[in-house]
Symmetry: C2
Subunit: 246 residues, 2 copies
DNA sequence: TAGGATTGGTAAACGCCGTTAACTGTAAAC
DNA sequence: GTTTACAGTTAACGGCGTTTACCAATCCTA
């Protein structure tokens, strides 16, 4: 049946409408929004959690597409600019769509059986940013931990990553570069989650100072020669969001 | 009425039992656990969110007490040891009590009226760790940003903090030290939330490598001379938790 | 082309949830 | 000794996830 994919698409569409309107995501509301009764949805998802997983995955995919489009204004040989701007876009999206952000990034992954862990396998925004980081590494050749520094346990884990890294991307399977990505992701996820959930003085969140400090540390670490240019991009992108939202 | 405080205590007790047993926190379940009907709870909290806020606050207070007790094995003139061990305890608690952690640290603060923001005012674990950081600063005299580096906006915010900082603690109202605390909190919150919610390869979480790296960076930044001793404490405390949970 | 199987929907019901309204007994206050 | 505040009750409403039984198309196949 060709209808099925269209139905899945409408499930996601109605779900995102619901979230955007400030409502909670619920099976019954989605069904009602589609002009269908609730049990009908069980032909497409086997329970509520699976609906959440589906919507979360599709949201992550959709916002990743917006990163990709928005960074196309930089040439392909400028991955650093794309990367830092994508980080700012990630923050702006989180702050402006808290419920969507919470759905994607604050729902326990390990808890819900295997399906959700498999979904992490197709973590779009992570793949996108990892690709940019690898491209930036090709250009700037910044350092990353050696296998000796990582230790055997980490080397084993990183040599068999969950993410479907394009094998052509990381040459000779160097695990240090993937660890660098994980470290950067930890920093980005951490500061954005902190801001989105408001466990920081709201005036500090509003100022963006903590986020900027985090990004600056990473620019200095990876591409110090480009600091001024990249920092200007970050500040400009932040200012744009701050003015867009009173 | 003297009864009221006892009733509040039992609300919290039953709520934590519920969470510990893996159930969801709900008004009706709490009422049932107390041998009372659901509407009776409305004499104590005005709605469900207020129950959540109450329980979250009490949980934070209770776990802070466990940090305080567990770090009493270090002398009072060794705040650095207390601080790093408290950070590990924070992580261990989060990983072993995911639902409690989510309740306290992954519920939007700003969203829910003013009451919750006021509760942040009495953010126990934050106050405790800030106190330890200040004590450590008195001992090691590590550097922190100057007002010029912070900029006027941050200085204004930090000079009128939300947290009820003991004015005797921070001398002359130096805002840079408070900013350092906020930066450290961002790093700690970030890496622990990342691990608890599992948006990182679960084997990396299991290894603790990302957390250790974060803590080590901060030890090196603040108290490099104590690195070996403090790092050994961190590793020992982590190992203890890893063996306690198969 | 007839007939069984699959697909995608329905209505009805269950038990749980937060919340409200009206009511009641008990203890304190004047 | 009467009034009043408190702390609980019962009953009900609407919404939730989920299951069961049923039904009408549509497709596959003999």
């Amino acid at each position: 049946m060709r209808h099925r994919e269209a139905t899945y698409a409408e499930i996601v569409r109605v779900s995102r409408e619901l979230l955007a309107s400030g409502s909670e995501l619920s099976l019954r509301a989605v069904a009602a929004g589609m002009g269908v009764t609730a049990p009908a949805l069980y032909r497409y998802v086997s329970n509520y959690q699976e609906l959440v997983d589906l919507v979360a995955f599709e949201i992550d995919k959709a916002v990743t597409d917006t990163y990709r489009e928005a960074t196309e204004r930089f040439p392909d040989d400028d991955p650093a600019a794309k990367l830092v701007v994508a980080c700012v876009l990630f923050r702006n999206w989180g702050l402006q769509h808290r419920s969507e952000f919470g759905l994607v990034f604050a729902n326990p992954v390990a808890a819900t059986s295997y399906s959700r862990r498999e979904l992490m396998t197709q973590w779009c925004s992570g793949l996108f940013m990892n690709g940019l980081l690898v491209q930036a590494w090709r250009k700037y050749d910044f350092g990353y931990p050696t296998p000796e520094e990582l230790g055997p346990e980490l080397v084993a884990i990183l040599s068999d990553p969950l993410m479907p890294i394009d094998p052509a991307d990381i040459p000779e399977g160097e695990p240090g570069l993937l660890w660098l990505f994980n470290s950067g992701w930890a920093a980005l996820y951490g500061v954005v989650t902190l801001e989105v959930f408001g466990h920081l003085d709201p005036r500090v969140v509003e100022s963006g100072a903590m986020f900027v400090q985090t990004i600056r540390e990473w620019i200095r670490r990876l591409m110090p020669d480009e600091y001024d240019r990249l920092d200007a991009l970050v500040v400009a992108e932040l200012r744009q969001a701050r003015s867009a939202q009173p």
